[in-house]
């Protein structure tokens, strides 16, 4: 997995690419997320359009980021969730936790 990030309209957008399965690749997403949290950037979107799949390690990173931001008056939202990841969110009931949007624009609008 690799990732890029950018900011648009005061919202951080993190774009991982590949598979999130644990090990060094998963640390990359975790570290990037916490880098923004430490910079007090509290509106975060994770764009999942280019993530082939993730396992419970990836879900754990999303939840950890979600709860950390929520506890600091921030929010983590998902955009462009692929069918495979949507299926995992459904079977784990995490679909009830995360706000998910069909596009980055919709996700950004939801913050304003």
């Amino acid at each position: 997995m690799n990732l890029t990030d950018r900011e648009q309209d005061g919202v951080v957008i993190i774009e991982p690419k590949g598979k999130i399965m644990g090990g060094p690749d998963a640390s990359l997403l975790h570290d990037k997320l916490y880098e923004f949290i430490e910079q007090n950037k509290k509106k975060v979107i994770i764009d999942l359009s280019r993530v082939d799949w993730m396992n419970s390690t990836g879900l754990g990173i999303l939840i950890s980021g979600y709860t950390t931001l929520r506890n600091n008056d921030g929010e983590l939202k998902l955009a462009n969730v692929t069918e495979k990841i949507q299926s995992l969110l459904t079977i784990t009931k995490l679909v009830t936790v995360f706000e998910a949007y069909d596009s980055i624009d919709d996700a950004i609008k939801s913050f304003h």
Binding site: K19, M21, G22, W53, N55, S56, T92, K93
Partner: protein, 140 residues
């Protein structure tokens, strides 16, 4: 042992997360060779990554001197994969329900639940020598 060894459809890796991606490349290569559709390939790859992660963290407690073997087989209707470790074993019934309200926001504890959800059959054999998990997925 400091790097993966592949013999036929079996891969043995040192118990280290560094090799998860190697397992995935090996596994997906064999599965595509069987002509399995991409959705099932992903389900199997997710499940194997969960079981290898479990072996590294929970069975071997990150002891990189231990090894994990991944053996892939198929018959006419199923892919059958065995993941064996050298750990102390565990009781699969002792795992907390990840869907319970109090566990929903925990960042761990979903691995085995996901494997059971994605696979058609999951069998455990736990001995003094380690844990052997066999997963079966229909390919028809």
């Amino acid at each position: 042992m400091d790097k993966p060894i592949i013999t036929g459809n079996t891969m043995i890796i040192p118990s280290n997360q560094e090799f998860l991606a190697d397992v995935d490349v090996f596994l997906e290569g064999v599965l595509r060779g069987y002509g399995i559709d991409e959705s099932r390939v992903a389900d199997i790859a997710i499940s194997v990554s969960e079981l290898v992660n479990n072996a590294i963290h929970h069975a071997h407690h990150k002891d990189t001197k231990k090894t994990i073997s991944i053996k892939i087989n198929r018959d006419k209707e199923n892919v059958i994969i065995n993941i064996s470790d050298q750990g102390t074993g565990f009781n699969p019934e002792d795992i907390n329900d990840p869907l319970a309200e109090e566990n929903l926001l925990k960042d761990t504890g979903r691995g085995l639940f996901i494997v059971k959800s994605l696979m058609d059959k999951v069998d455990f054999e736990i001995t003094d020598q380690g844990t052997s998990v066999t997963i079966t997925k229909s390919i028809k």
